[in-house]
Symmetry: C2
Subunit: 181 residues, 2 copies
């Protein structure tokens, strides 16, 4: 795994516990698995999601952080004013294939915020984002967009390992092999 | 987009409408966006998901097919007996990085079935699968595993376009641009 002193943060907008619980949880798990440092969500505070991620860290290791953000717009403004780069993942954005080399370079010397939308993303986010990026210009999923973006930013994210986990998988072609350590 | 006469089919096991509706829908949309030919799901029949995909095809084009499968195990056995290759996506599987070149080659001359799990995948599927493949050995999401697998099988899947759609996005860095055609 490439070490990078610059932080990669994910912001999931407008979480609605009833409708989005599993989608937001999957977004948070994808962020952890593929190398983000922290996961923030706005909308409705939801301790269930924070609990899932905390337990995942306990079992599988690492220092991935998660928290609720009351005012997402003000957070994004603050992030930008401190010099961070804001990438909004949206099917309406520029093709990731055409921007990925530029984004990979920026990632080496800037903190990066990846925004994934909720039900309807207010126009302000399009305007605030340094990059509006589409992972394909077809409807699919914020979970999928996030995982492909993280992989494209760093192909080595597939090899990511974590310290201090209780559980570890021994890759196998025929059976679940899991060890406690 | 690479043309391929061999079919890529996705099978989502054990769909539960209440808990999984959005996850299964996102899996189906990911399959469509990134080049699968058809999406099958077992568990509980759910017309809602079929309707979403049918409407997505109407609006965004293409001939992606979706249907419910009553007996998934018998379907997988039949698929194998007709010479197809079965890849089961599981966090317990072999590292995709180490198998992807082999799988890309097979994809050129075999029909391929990608299985994504439900709540708990019965051992039979591990044993039936020609390949049990992990997209990272950490917990994340079937939506994410599927999208990365499809991308890794064919990097050009990001460029996939569809005929006969009513809607088309004009990629933009600052606004939603969508045209009716």
């Amino acid at each position: 795994m490439t070490q990078n002193i610059y932080k990669l943060t994910i912001l999931r907008l407008d979480h609605r516990p009833y409708r989005d619980k599993r989608i937001t949880t999957h977004c948070a798990l994808v962020g952890r698995a593929f190398g983000a440092d922290e996961f923030l969500f706005s909308g409705t505070e939801d301790l269930g999601i924070i609990t899932v991620i905390t337990k995942t860290n306990e079992n599988w290791g690492g220092n991935y952080r998660i928290r609720f953000v009351e005012d997402a717009l003000s957070f994004v403004n603050g992030f930008k004013s401190e010099g961070g780069i804001v990438i909004h993942l949206t099917m309406y954005g520029l093709k990731v294939q055409e921007k990925i080399e530029e984004l990979k370079k920026l990632r080496q010397y800037k903190n990066v915020l990846l925004i994934v939308g909720g039900a309807k993303v207010p126009t302000e986010y399009f305007q605030l984002a340094d990059y509006n990026i589409a992972i394909g210009n077809q409807p699919h999923s914020e979970v999928s967009a996030l995982s492909l973006m993280l992989y494209l930013l760093d192909n080595l994210s597939l090899n990511k390992t974590f310290d201090n986990g209780k559980l570890k998988i021994i890759p196998s072609n025929d059976i679940k092999k899991i060890i406690r350590q």
